[in-house]
């Protein structure tokens, strides 16, 4: 559905997107992941024909974003990062306008607006559609933006940071919605927060400093995560130093750090790769007679990977990616 080849974008002399290529199949939900200023928005803007690329090509649904811009635009629903809306309009007016602008025949417009509104939970409270946009909360604005994208039932949805600024409940709803959209549409969404992408997307593209640093399903990416295992223990009953030293003596433990929290001491125990030290630690605590409050093992997450990847990118390629 989306075919990007060697896409490069300079803003003046600043390189924003550096020769990226990727493919998105129809019906998939793709997460575009990267820290702020990595080039996510730029890439999405190029895909939605808002700005042209400096070089390289991009096709959406087989149409070139440069030469067949109008065709591409009519196949895309795009929700920009901050969801810009006309403040003085009412929700329904706005959606009707957008529907007309997208070329929907006037007879179908009302139905399309109702449908999109329903999908985006804009029907409750009842007067929501009659409210002025500048009186809406952030979450509702986001929904209006999303409804706007869905009006013409586009093949491709491009959502730039769809969950930013939403409260947790709203985030969850949005996730659900996007998940459901994936059934009918091809969705590209961007985020700098791994968690939401991880849950919704079938595929992730990690971008940093304008380059793709990793690509694949969340599972694939997780598998690539390497790193020491950790056990977190919260204990009470002895001098922290002594307790730490005792734990450190366990076989296979590489490093122990401790922090205090009230009477409790929190120990972070690092072990070798893929080692599970929980049993040994529990045994030691029992033996020493300490009070145990928590004991859990932490595996390296996608988050770590994300940080790791992007950190490497930044430290490795200073001078290019970090300026934006």
């Amino acid at each position: 559905m989306i075919d990007v080849k060697n896409l490069t974008k300079y803003y003046g002399r600043t390189l924003a997107v550096d020769n990226i290529s990727f493919n998105v199949d129809a019906g998939s939900v793709v997460g575009f992941l990267g820290p702020n200023g990595a080039g996510k928005t730029t890439t999405l803007r190029i895909l939605t024909c808002f700005i042209p690329a400096t070089s390289g090509s991009a096709k959406v649904g087989g149409f070139d974003v440069f030469s067949q811009s109008v065709k591409v635009r009519s196949r895309i629903g795009y929700m920009p990062e901050n969801v810009p809306l006309y403040p003085e309009m009412r929700v329904r007016e706005y959606l009707m306008f957008r529907a007309a602008l997208r070329g929907l025949p006037s007879k179908q417009r009302s139905a399309a607006v109702d449908r999109a509104a329903e999908r985006c939970w804009l029907i409750s409270p009842e007067d929501m559609m009659r409210r002025r946009i500048d009186q809406l909360s952030r979450g509702y604005r986001q929904r209006v933006g999303l409804a706007d994208c869905l009006l013409h039932d586009p093949e491709v949805l491009v959502l730039d940071e769809p969950t930013i600024g939403l409260d947790p409940a709203q985030v969850r709803e949005m996730r659900k919605l996007i998940g459901s959209l994936g059934e009918k549409h091809t969705v590209i969404l961007s985020s700098h927060i791994l968690a939401e992408v991880e849950q919704v997307c079938k595929e992730l593209i990690v971008i940093s400093s304008g380059r793709i640093v990793a690509q694949g399903t969340p599972g694939e990416l997780r598998r690539r995560v390497t790193g020491p295992s950790r056990v977190i223990v919260e204990v009470k009953g002895g001098q922290p130093e002594l307790m730490a030293a005792a734990v450190a003596d366990i076989d296979g433990v590489l490093d122990v750090q401790y922090t205090r929290s009230g009477n409790w001491t929190r120990l972070t125990v690092k072990g070798g790769e893929n080692a599970d030290l929980r049993q040994d630690v529990a045994a030691l605590i029992a033996a020493k007679g300490y009070h145990l409050r928590e004991l859990r093992r932490e595996v390296s997450s996608l988050e770590d990977f994300f940080v790791q990847m992007t950190y490497e990118q930044i430290s490795g390629q200073k001078g290019i990616g970090n300026r934006e």
């Binding site: 042209p52 810009p84 007309a100 070329g103």
Partner: protein, 250 residues
């Protein structure tokens, strides 16, 4: 074409749903009424406009139009300043330009909206013409040509104001640029004409918007004026489109 109308409708609703259009309309009518009924007199500047409508004066709107030709150079950019710059400022340009509409359609839609608003303002001066009809015996040819001239003049002013609006994201700056351009092509060129020798001043006078408007306001139809107004409007709309497009490669 349909999209132009759709865009124009939205733009008009923006005008009418915000207080600005009404404030400008009220101020415009106050200005017109002042010139028409009271006249303007600033003694220390030796500036004086006699009331257009007074006992013993010619029954015509012509002096009013002649003054308005200058006054609108200030009023029209105020109307048009927000058209594009506001889209840039609020970011709605992004949703607008990623919808399947061309840049030209956007510019034309906005032009059309401003034009409709302008025509409504002009129609509001109809009551003053009605006064002239009731209390005098106006020359319909002059009045008709005067209104046609005002419409064409408005088209030029709006296209210039629209162009100014595409240049910056700050409304006020856009307004000032528009006023500056229009002031130059009206009063500014007039001063230039006074300062230079006649063989050049002839050419310069032809670039002056007022020169062409004067024909219309006195009741003379001249293709020169029509062509001038239409081509200048088209030109400014064209370069507005170019400026709007330029964000793609800048």
């Amino acid at each position: 074409m349909r999209k132009i109308v759709i865009l124009a409708r939205r733009e008009l609703s923006a005008y009418f749903y915000s207080p600005m259009a009404y404030v400008i309309a009220a101020l415009f009518l106050l200005l017109v009424g002042l010139i028409f009924l009271w006249g303007v007199r600033v003694p220390f500047l030796k500036f004086e406009i006699e009331p257009v409508f007074r006992s013993g004066a010619e029954s015509t709107l012509r002096p009013l139009f002649d003054v308005l030709a200058y006054g609108l150079a200030v009023v029209v950019p105020l109307l048009t300043m927000r058209l594009v710059s506001e889209e840039f400022r609020s970011g709605t340009i992004e949703t607008l330009m990623t919808a399947p509409v061309t840049d030209a359609a956007v510019i034309l839609g906005k032009f059309l909206a401003a034009m409709v608003l302008y025509l409504l303002l002009l129609a509001a001066t109809g009551v003053f013409f009605a006064l002239v009809v009731v209390f005098g015996k106006p020359d319909w040819g002059v009045a008709g040509m005067g209104y046609i001239g005002m419409v064409l003049l408005g088209a030029v002013y709006i296209s210039v104001g629209l162009f100014a609006s595409t240049l910056t994201r700050h409304q006020l700056v856009a307004g000032l640029i528009g006023i500056a351009i229009l002031a130059f092509f009206t009063a500014g060129l007039y001063l230039v004409v006074l300062a230079i020798p006649p063989e050049y001043s002839q050419v310069v006078a032809k670039v002056n918007i007022i020169t062409h408007f004067a024909d219309f306001s006195k009741g003379v139809f001249d293709t020169r004026g029509l062509v001038f107004f239409v081509t200048v409007t088209a030109f400014f709309l064209f370069i507005s489109v170019k400026v709007l497009e330029s964000r793609r490669w800048r």
